[in-house]
Amino acid sequence: MIYPLIKKQFLLVIRNRRNFTLLLVMPLVLVFIINFAVGDLWQGEAPVLEGKLAIAEHGDEEEDLERIKREIADIPITDDQRNLVLQRIEQFKPIHILKTQVFGSDDLKQFIQLEEVSPEQIDILKKSGEYAAILEVPEGFTYHIIMNMFGVQTEKPAFHYYINEDKDFTAGIVMDILAAFEEEMKVNMLFERYDLQEFRVSSQDIQGSVVTVSKTNPLTSTMYYAVGMSVMFVLYIASTIGTYAYEEKRIHVFERIILASSSRWAYVASIFLTGTLLSIIQLFILYGVGSVIFKVNWPNINQFLLITLFLSMSVGALSTLLTAINYRTHSEQASSVFSNMIVSIIAFLGGSFFPVHLISSFIEKLGNLTPNGAAMSAYLTSLQGYGYGEIGNNLLYLIIFSFVITLIAAFIFPKRGEVA
């Protein structure tokens, strides 16, 4: 039932040269032009990730170790065991490992500079905003960790973090690394407590997360505008479909569809699906050409497919909404307002024309509330090689957007017998 409706819709779009041009040729041409115009500005730009991390220690790791050596005499274990522990303790210096092997690694050093500061400075540094994050190590941190390893219940050792909201990207990376590090420590505590194996803190394990960071690809202007143009032009599919659906009513073929007892739900669903499918096809063609001509290649193809699907679904949703309003108002107004005004505004907010998020974080937030903006953020993040965690919010937003808009459209769509 839905299939012939979709097939017919596709035929209509393909037959119309103007739409064909608008939907496929225009965005490619624009990427070309913009690429030539601004290409130079972006040349040789450094990676986006860059920042400073401060570490402030209240205690002293060496003193903690001394203290343990003194107290170990009171723990009821054999001398052999005691000696073994003392040996191992010499190698176990979590803060030292963090400073020299994790943040001191060559991979990470080029992105994040670690600086040691005194605890008294923390308040001043917090205000200065110079650091992406400040890590505060409480007094006796190492002491408590080791005591816990041996099953002596003392305080639970934990870091304190201060995150700089303005540099949340770098800060986020730092947090990820620290979380991985802490996790590693906990595992080690358990291992030791149940006498499973040796100490397993090694910088190797922690660098697992570091490695993904260092793989981040720098964004080029071509990538930026290929994405910017595609998320903008995909919106025109919605207004085009809205116009067709209205046209269908104007030339009375809609009456034939009703007479055939087609359900309105099937009709609405066919519009949603047509919008979604056309968007997917448009995006595939654009990025296909983009990959061949502009060398915009996707590090994670599954992520790319997922973002494309969700963006396309929001366009499908917008198609049903515009159709419903066009039917209601008995005009093509919704479509023309959308394509002449709204697309430009949300394309601007979403960052299709230039990176607006650099202007203010407010606009950035606003931009991420547009379907194109959310998709653009996700595409760009994915292009840089980040994981699902970084694009999850955008994807979630696109799903919610599609759902809510379709729901609104269903409410607006005239019921049988209503004069619309």
């Binding site: 012939p4 209509l12 030339i251 034939r256 087609s262």
Partner: protein, 310 residues
């Protein structure tokens, strides 16, 4: 089979349909005749379940189609007044689409499309875009699209508007054929008297939302059987000559132009004599005097006081 009961449709300002009653028996062709804006299309739309009546009912096999449109829709084909086709699709693609939304099986649809193309005489135009069709071809395809699913009832809303006489005759013959050979019951809407006279068994005449007369062709013409019509033609008609008829109490209706006057009088009077006498007295030169049998057009004029066509 189908019954329309006191059907009304009120739009904001206009009462488009104002208490229409009519019925349809299996196998007949019924004409719905009326001038522009009479409410024919609105009536047809309500009968075909496309718009809801303000009040009244349409009953098919004793069931209200307002509440249960399904059964009627299955057996109904509608030829809308407007060309309801996709101009950007070919004739074949159009029919294919309209067949598929009736959930027709592929094989049957293919066969039906052949039959329909043959019937409407467009076998050689299947692959052409509808936008390149002539008016007559579009009209024919517009009819074809309503026939695919083999309806037993067909509503045709002015299917011959704005086309050449040749296409028109083709369509009229097709309609006859559909009724005689395929036993389709037809409601045919028009403001062309000749069409309705040629096609229909029974006729409803509609004006300003109301049925003002109904019956068989003969019954309707009998409305005028008490009258006779004279048409007097001349090179140029004298004012005084026309004045004489205007003042004559026996004349029921009078219409005239520069060289032609139509006079309607009761049948009993021997008015031919009066006309010749007046011609002599007023020294009016004369081309011809014609005694006319009443046509449906006259009935319409008689009933509404206005001509069918603008």
């Amino acid at each position: 089979m189908l019954e329309v009961v006191d059907l009304k449709k009120q739009y904001k300002q206009t009462r488009a349909v104002d208490g229409v009653n009519l019925f349809l028996e299996e196998g007949e062709i019924v004409g719905l005749l009326g001038p522009n804006g009479a409410g024919k299309s609105t009536t047809i739309s309500m009968m075909s379940t496309l718009i809801k009546p303000t009040s009244g009912d349409v009953r098919y096999l004793n069931e209200s189609v307002v509440k249960h449109p399904q059964k009627l829709r299955e057996n109904l084909g509608v030829v809308p007044q407007e060309i309801a086709l996709y101009p950007e699709l070919t004739a074949k693609e159009n029919l294919e689409f309209f067949g598929k939304i009736y959930k027709m099986d592929k094989q049957l649809l293919k066969q039906r499309m052949e039959e329909v193309f043959q019937l409407i005489g467009l076998e050689n135009k299947k692959k052409e875009l509808v936008k390149h069709f002539s008016g007559g071809m579009k009209r024919r395809l517009n009819i074809g699209a309503a026939l695919l699913h083999q309806p037993s009832i067909l509503f045709m809303d002015e299917p011959t508007v704005g086309i050449d006489p040749q296409s028109r005759n083709y369509i009229l013959d097709t309609v006859k054929q559909l009724n005689k050979e395929h036993h389709i019951t037809i409601v045919y809407t028009s403001h062309y008297m000749e069409e309705v006279e040629y096609l229909c068994d029974r006729i409803y005449i509609m004006d300003e939302g109301k049925i003002i007369a109904s019956g068989t062709k003969q019954e309707i013409k009998n409305i005028l059987s008490s009258e006779q019509t004279f048409i007097v033609e001349a090179q140029s008609l004298k004012k005084e000559f026309i004045e004489r008829f205007k003042k004559d109490g026996a004349v029921q209706q009078l219409s005239y132009s520069e060289n032609k006057v139509t006079i309607i009088v009761p049948k009993e009077t021997n008015y031919f004599h009066t006309i010749i006498q007046t011609v002599e007295e007023e020294k009016q030169e004369l081309k011809s005097v014609e005694v006319q049998k009443p046509s449906l057009e006259d009935v319409f004029l008689h009933l509404t006081g206005k001509a069918l066509r603008d």
